[in-house]
Structure formats: structure tokens, C-alpha cells
Amino acid sequence: MAVVVLVMQILACLGLGTLLLRALKVDGDLATAEHLGLAFACGFGILGWLVFPIGVWAGLADGWLWGLLAAGALGLLLFPRRPIQPLGRLDAVGWGLVVVLAVSMAFDLMEGLSPPADADSLAYQFNIPKQFIAQGRVRFIPRPLDGAVPLLIQMTYIPALALGGERALTLWAMVSGWAPAFLLFVLARRYLSLNWSLTLALVFLTTPAVVYGGGTGQVEVKMALFVLASTWAVVRAVETGRTAYAVAAGLGAGFYVGAKYMGLLFAAAAGLMVLWHRRWPALSIAFGLALLAAGFQWYAWNWLHTGDPLFPKFYQWIGRDGLAEWTKAHDLIYTEIFFRQERGVPRNLLWFFLYPFKATLDPLLVFDSGRVGLGPYGLLLLPFALLGAWKFRARLRRSPLLVVAAIAALYYTALFFTGPSQRVRHLVPVLPLFLICITAAAQRFTAGTPMGRPLIAAALLTIGLQISGQGLFSANNLEFVLTGEDRQSYLRRNVLKYEAAAWINANLAKTDRIVVNERQLFYYLDVPYFFASPFAQALVDVSAAVDDPRRLYRQLADQGITHLFLPVREEAGGGVYSAPYGLLDRAGCLEVMKEFELPVFASRTLSTLSGSRVKARILRLKAPSCLE
């Protein structure tokens, strides 16, 4: 069933996208492969867009979801009946690249056949769709950062998970992670040879950040689809002045806006480029209206429930009072702390230029680019690309690639100076634009000269290095798939503290509710839980300043808490549990039900990086009489 659902979902995306391209009449001059790539990108956005209203008003019953997929797939009837235009003839190098590409995709398949293990996916990317399906409809989640946020891509996970189960979900994550590489390949063919286009797809697909996030629930790689489709349409709008392309560009940008707040920065960058044409008033109006139509849903949803469309960005000023889960006093402290943690270097002109080098060569932990960065390709090609841009500066002014480069540069500028986070993964959606531009500039500069050799070496070394890394990353999944390892054993090896989740599921009842602050366990918990982090809620005050055990007890009891899963502190002098839970321990309100010694690893791939163990306990919250 998983494969049937996967195929149906692919066909639905292709069909919905085909409908849109035909409706806008922008499919006339597309090669077959371009049509497939762009249709999938548009359809992917439309599918996510449609599941939301269905989930809110009609419910997530299987019938509705099957109906949506089937109706979407019918759009393929409008697929242009033209002879298939070949993308070129493969030579020996091309075949070699195809073989390496197949190896990379085989590694991805191993991940697609394994249970999900990525922490963010388990915390919310996959967990939120799972919750919505269990509840039968889409409901507002009053939690900042990973609850009340744009969820357009997570909506596409719902049909896969509801109809095909977890296997369909992970395979869908895999396919939607491949799609940007395919679209990059076909769009790159407009500017590069077949071999260089294949090289680009391979560099992208094996980029550590893409390997890490592409096959998971994380949205950055998948958002590259919207970026590529929107940028293609902006280029065509500037070339032709046709309003339909501006609409397509606005829809692509709008889907990105609907998938993540960062999409607003991309929308601004793409919108500015639409102004490049003398028909800019009509084009920008069309772009803006389409952007609004595609991206408004989750902002309206947030505004409806919190008063702040970008919750919690402006909550302090325009948010609704009386939201128990996230009060303004709480927001004042924790939003600021959270976003301060996300910045490693100052936002000034010096670091604007130095950040990419620092992130590539000497990353801070907060950049999240040590093992899962953007790879060495950009660094290695930099002088080739700069020399190419200088040499062909006169021709560059009329090149469509200038628009592509400008969108990528504007996005980076906006992200660096105004973005909430300096994690490199936020650059992944525009990575394909960067790759096309630097490769085209570098390749043109070196064409017909001996400088082509170091360029080719740079590309091949990058691919060799990256696919080796991908192989290492995939070792866990290979072991699971090829050795027939059982699911529990795999999860114990790959999900931090999973053993506790297994114990909780086996020993607690559905009527219990346990405090769990380990986000990576949420997806696997079958009993109700409560995430008590101060960055997620204001219902229970868990700050270290709390000194009244009765108040803490009452707040926990009000949430129906019956158990807690807490780490045991090893330091001498302090309590056994971190503040403020030590108050309840000293009052005699906590009964130890189970103690674990759990392995801790900083990386699933390189679990030997930190092979320590920590103690943690499942505790029962005793009756209120413990406080008398």
C-alpha cells in the first residue's frame, strides 16, 4: 500500500502542477523534462495548500484524501502531447555521473526504507501530521517555533501517512527530497552542458545539508522546489513581460512563504526582481496577488488564534492577551533568549562577507554546518566564478543568470541582516540558484583553456568527498535494511533515549500524561505527553527561580500530569533533579518508577563522537497529600 500511495501522491502533484501550468498558459515552450519538474514543484505546493482547508473543515478522513489524490492525478490528462525532447546524449563521463547519481539515490532509498530517526522530524515535522491524523482534523497548536508556524509542506505528509502509513511517509520524504535535484538538473540544462548539469544535480544531492535533511521531514531541501520554480518564472517574466509568469513566480514564492517564515525574505527578493521589467506595475501586482493567495493560509491561521500572523515575532505588540499557553510576560523573556542563541556572529558588513567562509571552514556550533554544511563546492569554485563574472561582465548584464544571482544574493543579504537564525540550513533552498550561477560562470571562464582541469578536479573531488560522507551517513540505514535488524534495535541505536519511549509506551496508560522534554521521542510516544520547555509553553513555570512546590504541583496537576521523565543530575551539592523539579522531590512528591542509563551520542552517524551515558528516571507524581 505504501508504494501505491507514493505513486498516487507523485501523480497528484504532477497532475495539479500540470493543471496550473496549463491554466496560466506557460507550458508552451517547456521541454518534457522541464514540464515534469516544474509541474511537480507547483503540484507539491498546491497539494499542501489544499490539505489545509480540507483538514480544517472537512476532516482528514481517508475518503477525502484519496479523493484529493485521485482528482489531482486527473490533471495529467492535460499533459502536453508533444514528442519527448531528449536532454542530450550521454558520453562516458555522463554515464559515470549517472552511475554515481544512482549510488547516491540508493543510499537515499535506504533511509526511505528505515524508520524516521531525525530529531526535528520526530519532534514536529512528522509528529504534527501524525497528531492531526489522530485528531481527525487540523487544529491550531499554540506553541511557538514549531507549532504555530507555516506548515504547508507538512500538509503533504498527511495523505502519505494517513493512507500509506509510516513507510509511505518516509518514501515521500525521499522523493520530495529528490525532486529539487531533478528540477535543478533540467533548469541548469538551459545554461550548462548535459555533463555539467548532471554534476550540479549530484553536487546538490550529496551536499551534507541535503543528505542530512533531504530524506527527513525537514523542509529546507523541499523548499528548493518552490525557489527554483519561482525563479524560473521571474526570469521568464523579465524576459517576456507576460503577467502569467509573474503569477507563477508569485505562487512559487507564496508556497515558500506558506512553508516557512523565511519564505517572506525570498518573496521580497523575487518580488524585487519582477520590478526589472518596464511592465513592472502589472507584473508586481500579479506577483503580489499570487503570493498572497498561495502563502496567506498559515499567517491567517496564526492571526486568528493569537493575533500575531508571524507568531511569536510580533506577539508582544499585536498579540492577543489571555493566551494561557504563551503569555506576553513569558514571551518577553524566552523569545529573546531563543533567538539570541541562534546567532553566532555579529550582523555587520564584515561578517556578511566572512560568514560563508567561517561556516565552511571553521563553523560555530550554532551554524549547524560542521558535519551537515553546504560542502566545499562553493569555496573551490569561487575564483573561477569571480574571474568568469569579470571576464564576461558586459554579457552578464543581459544574462538571465544575473536575475538568478540577484535573487540568491538578495535572499542571503536579507537572511543575514534580518533573519532570526544563522543556521546554514536556511540557505539550502537557494543553494541550487547559487550552484547554477557559479558553475555557469566558472565553466564559461575555463572553456577551451587548461584552467578547465582544476575546475573539473574541484567538481569531482567535491562529489567524491560528499558521496563518501553520504555513504558513511547511510551506514546505519544500510545496516537496518540489509541485515534485517528489528525496528526497536534500530531506534535504540539512532534515536537518543528511545529506550525511555519504549518503556513509557509499555507501562503507562492512555489516561496518564507524562512530562517529556526530549523532543525526539514525541513521534514514538503512544501515551499523552507534555512538553514543559519554557521555549514551548507558559502553562507550567519551570524556570529555576520557582521556589514554591505547591504552585508547581498545581500547575502540573492542572495539565493532568501524572508522570515525569527527567534526567538525573550527577553534580555534587545540588538536588537530584534540575530546578524546579527538585522542589517536588524534596517535598516527597516524586516516586521513582524506573531508572535508565541511556547512551548519549552527538551524532547518529558517528555515535562514537561522545559515547557517554546519562541517568534518567520515570517518576510518578504522587497525590496532593504529599505536600501536606
Partner: protein, 44 residues
């Protein structure tokens, strides 16, 4: 391929150095985890 000029030869050499040095600098950051990779591969 056209006849290579002296300027092109120098530029080619510089670009080779850049590629090699860039790759070395990129790999250097992983020195800390190299031991871990070796352990994983059973070589340590």
C-alpha cells in the same frame, strides 16, 4: 584547445593551488572527528 599563453599557465597554477588548499582547509575541520570515523571503520 587554443595555444596556452603564459598568463593562462600562471592562472591555471594558481587555480590548482586554490583547489588543493581549499580542499585541505575544508578537510582540516574534520580532523577532530577523523578518529571517530576510523573507529567506526574498525581502523582505530
Amino acid at each position: 584547445m587554443n595555444k596556452t599563453t603564459g598568463k593562462e599557465r600562471i592562472l591555471t597554477a594558481v587555480l590548482w593551488i586554490w583547489v588543493c588548499a581549499g580542499l585541505a582547509a575544508y578537510l582540516y575541520q574534520f580532523a577532530g572527528i577523523a578518529g571517530s570515523i576510523f573507529t567506526k571503520l574498525g581502523l582505530a
